[in-house]
């Protein structure tokens, strides 16, 4: 996008983008009508930083000091050819492709994939309706032995919900699911992992890459895995094991949306400089098994409207597949301004609408999961390549929000990166860090960028029109998908990042969510238990709060927004008479389901999500 602006003077690579100029400035001029002042401000300026000399904060300094001591210990190091962080569709797609192409070229390329989950797929969450474009290219005969529960889509509906009722609305052609497959992303990931191991990819689950290693010149040298056996104060336990370092000429970051290492690499190399900030949504879902009479195999349904208000983007989904399994969920755009909104509670009450209740009645809820996903689209894609490394998949952000699909684009990005890597190994000197520019060039010419470009205005249109909110977005999106198909000279811009949009609680009233009925809706502890999440006892809290002193002010301003945006009840304000607001900020990291919403939505942007010990976290298999 920004590259196109720069090359306007000279020959353009792809003529159809010729009219996309000055897109950002022009659109904000056109739509400079007074927007609703949502009392946004930059928390950094308004909140006074007060130094608390409370013993709690001394404790966190002690932890950091102890962790620093461990960091200075030597690590065992291993030299490999390619290091991939994250065994998801992008990471495994890249690994498989590298091995396939290397075999064709008669070369041996050693590929290591590190995965923080106990097993590949345990942390994979998606609807999911997969468009098989990338899969067909990677493994053309995949249908002979498809992933478990893979079901071709048989019908596609869209509904608009109001309390107690639903209305059908037409399915825009851009999100039609003909030829697509409903499956569990966890199952697809496990299936890809088996294919990767058959090709001799070295896959190490239960080992989280926790640190990026750099050369003297600032290029990426590789990554190091987490240390095991560190207690909550940062001291070594009896079973302490220092992490291992992997050095490679090229490291691919495939951690998914808001990956922890990807975040640090994007900051360090300023990769977001020429793009808009990434925006996110939070997807919360459950997988149910329902009785035969309710089950309609292969049905894909999406909903808009209730329970979300007009200023909150999002929609529900219900996919029926496999052995009477129903995947039901809600995606909420994290740019909602109202700090009283709780996406998890909205999801729980959404299921009370007869459209969902009729299907789920008599069924059993098997699994619960939550994960943030990119919504920034074309405007927010960062620079993908840097010396010694590259971002693939959702770590960069290729989700087509209109179709709500990102798996095919993630896989394709992994494959294009793989091709660039094999090319580099064939031709160039691989004893130094590689900068695989060919990956970024080729991806721009692939269906990934073309698709994302054509739907770039749909998501931002939901907040582009003042006063109209979601309705404005729905009208514009309908026009865009039936008429314009993205061929317009303007590009809507996102607002600032999701955290900055959070407004003060004083502008809103608390929302009275209904109590869970334990039949269709459940409370947070029950849901968290269903995710199978576990974090080993006595380890440092993996959620680092760099602004603990400001939580009192944050409570005054947002009245506990942290407790509401987290779908697992990790953050709490418990009663404490000794503090000025009467509330103390507590982090229950054992409940964490690894969704990364806190890293995105914390108004103070103080919470830094880091990997816990490898093998910790959810153990999902049907999500």
């Amino acid at each position: 996008m920004s590259n196109v602006v720069r090359t306007l003077g000279g020959p353009l690579k792809t003529p159809r983008y010729a009219f996309c100029k000055l897109s950002l400035k022009r659109s904000s001029l056109l739509f400079a009508l007074p927007k609703i002042k949502a009392q946004c401000f930059t928390p950094m300026k308004r909140i006074q930083v007060r130094r608390f000399s409370h013993s709690r904060f001394v404790q966190s300094n002690e932890l950091m000091d102890n962790l620093k001591k461990i960091q200075s210990l030597e690590r065992e190091a291993e030299d490999v050819d390619v290091c991939i962080v994250g065994a998801g569709p992008a990471g495994l797609g890249a690994a498989i492709r590298i091995k396939q192409e290397a075999a064709k070229a008669g070369k041996e390329i050693r590929v290591i994939v590190l995965e923080k989950a106990a097993e590949p797929g345990n942390h994979s969450v998606s609807g999911a309706v997969i468009q098989p474009t990338a899969l067909d290219e990677l493994i053309p005969d995949w249908k002979n032995e498809p992933p478990r529960h893979c079901t071709p889509v048989s019908s596609d509906t869209m509904k608009f919900l109001i309390p107690g009722m639903q209305f059908p609305i037409p399915v825009p052609p851009v999100i039609s699911n003909k030829g697509n497959y409903i499956m569990s992303l966890a199952e697809l990931t496990k299936w890809l992992a088996t294919k990767a191991e058959e090709l001799d990819v070295e896959l190490y689950p239960s080992f989280a890459a926790s640190e990026v290693l750099y050369n003297e010149d600032g290029s990426v040298r590789g990554v190091a895995t987490n240390d095991f056996g560190v207690d909550s104060k940062g001291l070594q336990k009896d079973n302490f094991e220092r992490g291992m370092a992997f050095h490679a000429p090229i490291t691919l970051f495939a951690e998914g949306a808001r990956g922890s290492l990807s975040k640090s690499v994007i900051q360090r190399f300023d990769l977001q400089k020429n793009s808009e900030p990434q925006t996110y949504g939070l997807g919360i879902k459950e997988v149910w098994r329902v009785p035969d009479e309710n089950f309609r195999n292969g049905e894909v349904a999406h909903t808009l409207g209730w329970p979300l208000r007009n200023d909150t983007y999002g929609g529900g989904f219900m996919y029926q597949f496999g052995d009477n399994y129903v995947s039901v969920g809600l995606v909420v755009g994290l740019d909602y301004p109202n700090p009283y909104v709780s996406p998890a509670a909205e999801f729980q009450r959404m299921k009370q609408n007869p459209f969902f209740a009729k299907v789920l009645k008599g069924g059993t809820c098997l699994e619960y999961a939550a994960r943030s996903l990119n919504e920034g689209g074309y405007q927010s894609i960062p620079k993908l390549v840097f010396p010694g490394g590259a971002l693939i998949g959702c770590s960069a952000g290729f989700v087509n929000v209109a179709k709500i699909k990102g798996t095919h684009t993630a896989m394709k990005s992994g494959m294009v990166a793989a091709d660039a890597i094999v090319e580099a190994f064939n031709t160039g000197d691989v004893n130094k860090p590689l900068t695989i520019d060919a990956y970024e060039e080729n991806l721009k010419n692939s269906f990934v960028f073309k698709e994302l470009y054509s739907v770039r205005n749909m998501r931002p249109s939901f907040h582009a029109f003042p006063f109209l909110g979601n309705y404005g977005g729905m009208v514009y999106s309908a026009l865009d998908s039936y008429l314009f198909k993205g061929k317009v000279p303007w590009t809507f811009s996102h607002k600032k990042g999701d955290a900055a949009v959070t407004a003060s609680a004083s502008s809103y009233k608390p929302i009275n969510y209904p109590k869970p009925d334990n039949v269709l809706s459940f409370d947070t502890p029950t849901s968290v238990a269903r995710s199978g999440t576990m974090h080993a006892e006595n380890q440092p809290c993996h959620l680092f709060d760099s602004r603990p002193n400001d939580r009192q002010d944050a409570y005054r301003m947002y009245k506990g927004v942290e407790n509401r945006f987290c779908p697992a009840g990790v953050y709490e304000y418990v009663d404490d008479e000794t503090l000025p607001t009467g509330k103390r900020f507590v982090i229950n990291s054992q409940n964490c389901v690894h969704c990364k919403t806190c890293d995105i939505k914390d108004p103070l942007q103080g919470i830094n999500w880091k990997t816990p010990q490898g093998g910790d976290g959810p153990k999902q298999t049907l999500t």
């Binding site: 291993e78 106990a118 095991f228 079973n239």
Partner: protein, 254 residues
């Protein structure tokens, strides 16, 4: 002092953090696609064997970890190798259900083949909670058994084990050979070091079938049905004995 040849028997079970799901036909637990791991008590047994190897260095001649199960069970064997066990062996039974008696017979045959003189097992498996294999094996071998061990030590040619019992702790000793089954507080298993996991990935595994050991697998039990436990029990308060009897009659308990 005799050399120690240690045999550790392990089992692959549903991961302990996951809630078991009953299959729609209500004939068993639905394990398809679920994460399977080493039984936690077996993990403790592996750890104990490694500690014995580390503290009794010159005395330990061999450590061997064995499991009977499908070929996917290789994974827990490789994890044990990565932690420090010297050899591993898989008894491939395909997808057959194994009852504790069959496992005990397979282990007996393995003990005789490998000439082991110390067998360490987990006290029970978290899927069937049978708590039988260790005892059956000891009886078939005619060896002393120490079940639910919380501390293991060696004094000369004797093994001294502290067991946790209802009344407290009991310390027993006997000369080798012996069977020990582990309880939770015996030790905290170590983490496998990634470098060792990488080496264990390609390590050779012994592969056997029940026929090789001369043990036919016969199942004597048939599972009729599996149901979820009753989740909500009603508490009915009654005022006197007459009302109590009346209520019991209404509930058809009398």
């Amino acid at each position: 002092m005799s050399k120690l040849r240690v045999l550790v028997g392990v089992k692959r079970t549903l991961d302990y953090m996951l809630k078991p799901r009953i299959n729609p036909a209500k004939t068993g637990v639905d394990l398809a696609g679920q994460k399977m791991s080493i039984n936690p008590f077996c993990d403790i047994a592996v750890e104990e064997a490694i500690r014995i190897k580390e503290t009794q260095k010159d005395r330990v001649e061999d450590t061997l970890v064995v499991t009977a199960g499908p070929s996917a069970s290789e994974q827990i064997l490789r994890q044990s190798l990565a932690k420090g066990i010297q050899r591993a062996s898989l008894i491939d039974v395909g997808n057959k259900e194994l009852e504790p008696l069959s496992v005990a017979k397979l282990l007996k045959a393995t003990v005789e083949k490998e000439k082991s003189n110390l067998v360490i097992l987990g006290k029970q498996a978290i899927d069937d909670d049978a708590h039988q294999t260790g005892g059956m094996l000891a009886a078939m071998l005619g060896w002393p058994q120490f079940t639910s061990a919380s501390k293991v030590a060696f004094e000369g040619d004797k093994v001294v084990v502290t067991r946790e019992i209802d009344g407290g702790a009991e310390t027993l000793s006997s000369p080798l050979p012996a069977v020990i089954t582990t309880d939770l507080r015996l030790n905290v298993p170590r983490f496998a070091n990634l470098a060792k996991v990488m080496k264990a990935r390609k390590a050779p595994l012994g592969k056997l079938t029940p026929e090789d050991l001369g043990v036919p697998i016969e199942n004597r039990l048939q599972t009729l049905s599996v149901e979820e436990p009753v989740s909500k029990r009603q508490s009915i308060m009654v005022k006197n004995v007459d009302e109590f009897v009346k209520t019991l009659k209404e509930l058809k308990a009398l």
